[in-house]
């Protein structure tokens, strides 16, 4: 069956199948509702991907050296660590955090009045990578030799679960789209079966007068494919408007408000209507030929 028949209408062939009432708008509605949901699943998947990239990038480019040493040696070892870091290839910047910055880090847990001077807190040294990155194992060995109280934390243990979580969120979004596609195919198959059953007399007459299966199937397939296409187009448009109307990240912040499309990714939802049409085409065609094979 040449798919070009979808865009080159055969009015005579279209007329042989009567308008099928409920199945017509139900098919359009189903395709529209599914496309609407698919837009949000796609937005979720893309947002999760962006979040994963952002978290990974942010953590991947920085590391922390935690320095624990007796009070009279802390400044000495800090200078030693900074000296090591300044000569290590792949490290762009390195600086010791101030007491105020360390207090700010602890404030969520201990409150604003923490007597930081009275506590044996380790000194934190923040470093950022340059493009090529540094040799983590080599740096650890140099630190162990020259500043025994220094421990390099390259954030791997933080980054990995975040990246895994975001990747799974992205996978869930894609899985949702696949499930939506499958559910759409199932519902359109049911609608096509229903239409074929309701038009059993039409099919019988057409076979009697010498219609080929492909001719009969075409009349149903074209109708359902175009209904799915138009319904999905409407659902996609509504979904995109809904996503566009979500509050912006700037005004509210947070993950959910970042649930949108950015730049060229606004083009991605536009693939949903043709995808729904392809699903409807395949589902209706398979259903029609299966039903027709039951007849002689």
């Amino acid at each position: 069956m040449n798919p070009l028949f979808l865009i080159t209408p055969d009015h005579q062939a279209d007329r042989v199948v009567p308008p099928s009432g409920h199945t017509a708008w139900l098919t359009s509605f189903t395709a529209g509702a599914m496309a609407f949901l698919a837009v949000f699943a796609l937005a979720l998947s893309l947002a999760a991907g962006r979040l994963a990239d952002r978290w990974s990038d942010a953590l991947e480019r920085t590391a922390t050296v935690r320095l624990s040493a007796p009070e009279d040696q802390i400044d000495l070892q800090t200078r030693a660590v900074l000296a090591i870091l300044s000569t290590t290839p792949g490290i762009a910047t390195a600086r010791a955090m101030t007491d105020d910055e360390q207090r700010a880090l602890l404030e969520p847990w201990f409150g604003p009045d923490l007597p930081i001077d009275a506590l044996p807190l380790p000194r934190l040294i923040e470093l950022t990578e340059s493009g090529s990155g540094y040799d983590g194992e080599g740096l650890r060995q140099r630190l162990a030799a020259e500043a025994p109280g220094a421990v390099l934390d390259d954030h791997t243990r933080w980054r990995r679960p975040l990246a895994v979580a975001a990747a799974r969120l992205r996978l869930l979004g894609l899985l949702s789209i696949a499930l939506i596609g499958t559910a759409t195919a199932a519902m359109i198959t049911l609608a096509a079966n229903s239409a074929l059953a309701a038009n059993a007399q039409v099919v019988k007459v057409l076979r009697l007068v010498g219609a080929r299966d492909s001719y009969i199937a075409r009349a149903f397939v074209r109708r359902f494919t175009l209904r799915a296409l138009s319904g999905a187009a409407a659902g996609t448009a509504a979904g995109m408007i809904g996503v566009a109307l979500l509050p912006s990240t700037d005004s509210a912040g947070g993950f959910l408000t970042g649930l949108g499309f950015q730049g060229a990714s606004w083009l991605y939802p536009l693939i949903l209507p043709p995808l729904a049409a392809v699903v409807a085409f395949a589902a209706t065609r398979a259903s029609a030929f299966r039903k027709l094979r039951e007849l002689t």
């Binding site: 007399q201 010498g210 080929r212 492909s214 002689t296």
Partner: protein, 223 residues
């Protein structure tokens, strides 16, 4: 044209037709008679491959039906016009479109005048735009006949075509079928209406086949 060789047909339970061998020659006119339930409709369905024999060979236009693909069966049916007692139409289409349906599905068109002439020939010229549900039984039978012959088939099969008609309308339909036969079409009519058969035999050399005890016999003198 249509040949049966030792054909049998069984429905789930038992054998309905058994050991049937015959040939419908081009241009012949046959009646098929027998009591209700004897298998007349089944025999006709075997003639246009709606049913396949459970034993033996049915040959349509020199091709064994079992060797025909579904597309081949569709193409073969374009050479066989069928009229049923309960003829069915596409109720959402006007009569003219229904009559032209075989042409439509074959991707052909007919000059409007030809269609008008055909509808006039079966006496339905004024009803071209009528919907099938509004037609009487006789009108539906004549419309079915017009639909059956619009492709210029080689064979016309009619299953109890006068079953729902009064005598006057039955004669009118018979006249049309006789005219078709005189144009060279092979005609096979399944009927239990002996008066109709007698009337036809008075006009042409029709052969009468009778289904009895699952077999087909040539009948004659008792009609």
């Amino acid at each position: 044209m249509i040949a049966f060789d030792n054909v049998a047909y069984s429905y789930g339970g038992g054998e309905l037709l058994s050991d049937i061998s015959l040939r419908l020659a081009p241009g012949s006119f046959h009646f098929l008679t027998g009591p209700s339930g004897a298998g007349k409709s089944t025999f006709l369905k075997l003639c246009y491959a709606e049913l396949l024999p459970t034993a033996g060979r049915v040959t349509l236009f020199d091709r064994e039906v079992r060797s025909l693909s579904r597309d081949d069966i569709a193409l073969t049916r374009r050479r066989i016009g069928v009229v049923h007692q309960d003829c069915q139409f596409l109720d959402h289409l006007p009569l003219a479109a229904n009559v032209a349906l075989p042409l439509t599905v074959a991707g052909k068109t007919s000059p409007p005048q030809d269609l008008t002439d055909l509808l006039g020939w079966v006496g339905l010229g004024q009803l071209a735009d009528a919907r099938p549900p509004s037609l009487s039984g006789g009108e539906r039978q004549r419309a079915a006949l017009a639909r059956a012959i619009i492709m210029g088939p080689d064979v016309v099969l009619a299953d109890e075509p006068t079953g729902n008609l009064d005598w006057e309308m039955s004669l009118r339909l018979l006249t049309l079928l006789v005219e078709l036969n005189r144009m060279g079409k092979t005609v096979l009519i399944a009927t239990h209406d002996l008066n109709l058969i007698r009337q036809a035999k008075s006009q042409l050399a029709a052969r009468v086949l009778r289904i009895s005890k699952r077999r087909i016999q040539l009948a004659g003198a008792d009609l």
